[in-house]
């Protein structure tokens, strides 16, 4: 479904991504782990096209998308949520979701009809609002919503384009344990044919939802395996769990 071959990215003399390769099966749930500065978000930025790689190739269904722009890759079925909320602050929750849904349905260019009143768009808006538990505040402006609600909307925007590949950058960053449980359920309830890549710091959530785990350190893939293999792996313990335990 999504394949990365020898992806490299340098900023000047700093190699942030070093020959990263992996391949995702359709419907796979992949969690990317790694300490701060491991290059996880850079990897996402490369995948969606917000950064151009120094070398290497990104393929969707075997076709290279490396030369495509951000919007073209989104049209190819890739969608992401951001680590820092990146929303339409002045609009309501409903308007946010409707903008995303219309874009996903390629109805954003209609000049004679209103996408916000389109039945398909409305259906997606209600559907996604239900998925991310925002049904009650659909008509509230985003700038008045709580941080937790905005986190939910962040994921909701990514879902509303009806992607084939969903990239979530730390969806639970800054939220409490109650919401982590809700995200866990959200991810398990996603359709099984949706391929999902998640950057996650919450290890319980990571081990719960992942089919496979990729561990990055200083831009290198240092480990790839199932959650069980990850738990027992010494390198992973040293570079990631070790740090994590020391922090706690």
């Amino acid at each position: 479904m999504l394949e990365v071959r020898d992806l490299c990215k340098s900023f000047g003399g700093l190699d942030v991504t070093k020959k990263v390769s992996f391949a995702l099966e359709p419907g796979e749930r992949r969690v990317v782990l790694g300490p701060n500065g491991a290059g996880k978000t850079t990897l996402f930025n490369l995948l969606v096209g917000e950064l151009l790689p120094t070398s290497g190739d990104i393929l969707i269904n075997g076709a290279s998308v490396t030369a495509l722009s951000v919007d073209q890759r989104a049209m190819a079925g890739m969608s992401r949520s951001y680590q820092k909320n990146n929303l339409f602050e002045d609009f309501t929750v409903r308007e946010n979701l409707a903008l995303a849904a219309a874009a996903g349905l390629s109805k954003e260019k209609w000049i004679a009809r209103d996408s916000f009143h389109d039945p398909e768009v409305r259906e997606i808006v209600l559907d996604v609002a239900n998925q991310v538990a925002l049904t009650d505040i659909l008509d509230a402006p985003v700038h008045s919503a709580s941080y937790g609600n905005r986190r939910q909307l962040e994921v909701g925007l990514a879902l509303a384009t009806r992607p084939k590949i969903l990239l979530m950058d730390e969806p639970t960053s800054g939220v409490g344990p109650g919401m982590i449980g809700a995200f866990n359920k959200l991810i398990s309830d996603l359709p099984r044919d949706l391929t999902v890549v998640i950057i996650e710091h919450d290890l319980d959530l990571a081990f719960d939802v992942a089919d496979r785990i990729t561990v990055l350190n200083y831009g290198d893939v240092v480990f790839e395996g199932t959650p069980d293999e990850t738990r027992g792996n010494q390198i992973v313990r040293d570079i990631y769990l070790g740090d994590w335990q020391a922090d706690a």
């Binding site: 969606v48 917000e50 722009s69 951000v70 919007d71 073209q72 989104a74 049209m75 969608s79 992401r80 990146n86 929303l87 339409f88 602050e89 002045d90 609009f91 308007e95 409707a98 903008l99 995303a100 219309a102 874009a103 996903g104 390629s106 109805k107 954003e108 260019k109 209609w110 000049i111 004679a112 009809r113 209103d114 996408s115 916000f116 389109d118 925007l157 384009t161």
Partner: protein, 323 residues
């Protein structure tokens, strides 16, 4: 996001009715003022469409209007082409120029975007200013108005032409409002709100912005056709960047991003110019003071500020009812 609220429809209806009444009962000079207001109002609508809702502040709308005026004038006065196809050609020319400039400029944003539009606008001004064939700084005359005798109207009559110009405001406002309420307009507001996210959702934002500018330029082109027909004489002054600056002031004075505010702003601006102009040549001082006051009051403009007060009051009233 654009909402055609009842308050906006009401304000538009009042302004348009007042213009018609003023033209009808005010005599020749009033009609000239009404036509001047209409041209400025249409130009302000076109600018608010991209600046207020698309976040793309431009300093070349005057040049776009002038280009359309020149297109219309050359075709009618020099080549004797029928005014109606000539008007469409002028509007098309304006839209094409707007699209071409936006295709380049919309890769930048903010102050760089403004400077790019200013540069292209001034280029066009200079070309026309230097062109002997177009009359250079002497301009061109002998421009005909539409011949509406087939529906029993005579646009050489100043009252009928004034009412036709007010009708032009209504049509341009309607087109802009419909587009803002379409998926296209929603997406444009989304790009204004958060362009990188819109791109991440799969929207080619620079194409969208280019199309928005083409539409806005077409509306500015309508103002150009009116401008050429009004005085039946045009000069490069129409394209000079201060014209674009003036219409930007009108939009801010009336209320950026309210669509009806700029129409009101145009009426206030032109009336002030003539009324204060009776007493002193320095009428700009009064406009400047008014602009400072509206900006200091919150930058919502005259209409925007009124709307803000009214919605704030009705919200308070609702809350006290609920309490």
């Amino acid at each position: 996001m654009f909402h055609q609220t009842p308050a906006r429809s009401f304000t538009l209806a009042v302004v348009l009715a007042a213009l018609v009444a003023y033209a009808t009962f005010g005599g020749f000079f009033a009609r000239e003022i009404v036509i001047e207001i209409a041209i400025l109002a249409i130009l302000a609508i076109s600018l608010d469409f991209v600046a207020g809702f698309g976040g793309m502040v431009s300093l070349f709308h005057g040049a776009v209007m002038g280009l359309s005026a020149y297109g219309y004038s050359v075709l009618t006065a020099k080549f004797g082409i029928h005014p109606i196809p000539a008007a469409f050609a002028g509007i098309f020319l304006a839209a094409s120029f707007g699209a071409a400039v936006a295709a380049i400029a919309s890769r930048t944003s903010g102050i760089f975007f403004i400077m790019a539009t200013l540069a292209f606008g001034q280029m066009l001004y200079t070309i026309i200013f230097k062109s002997r064939w177009l009359g250079g700084d002497d301009g061109m005359g002998g421009i005909p108005r539409f011949d509406a005798s087939w529906i029993g109207l005579d646009f050489n009559d100043s009252l009928q032409f004034a009412i036709f110009a007010v009708f032009g405001i209504a049509v341009c406002y309607g087109i802009a409002a419909l587009l803002l309420r379409s998926a296209f307009g929603r997406t444009m507001c989304g790009i204004h709100g958060n362009e990188p996210r819109m791109r991440a959702l799969g929207v080619s934002t620079w194409k969208h912005k280019t199309a928005a500018f083409a539409i806005s330029s077409a509306i500015a082109g309508v103002a150009g056709v009116f401008a050429a027909q009004h005085t039946q004489y045009i000069s490069p002054e129409l394209l000079f960047w201060t014209v674009s600056g003036e219409v930007l002031i009108v939009v801010i004075l009336g209320g950026l991003g309210t669509l009806v505010g700029p129409v009101l702003g145009a009426a206030i601006f032109v009336l002030l110019k003539h009324e204060v102009g009776n007493y002193t040549d320095h009428w700009h001082i009064v406009v400047g003071l008014l602009l400072i006051v509206t900006v200091m009051a919150g930058g919502r403009g005259i209409y925007g500020q009124a709307e803000h007060w009214i919605t704030g009051r009705s919200r308070k009233a609702r809350e006290s009812l609920n309490a």
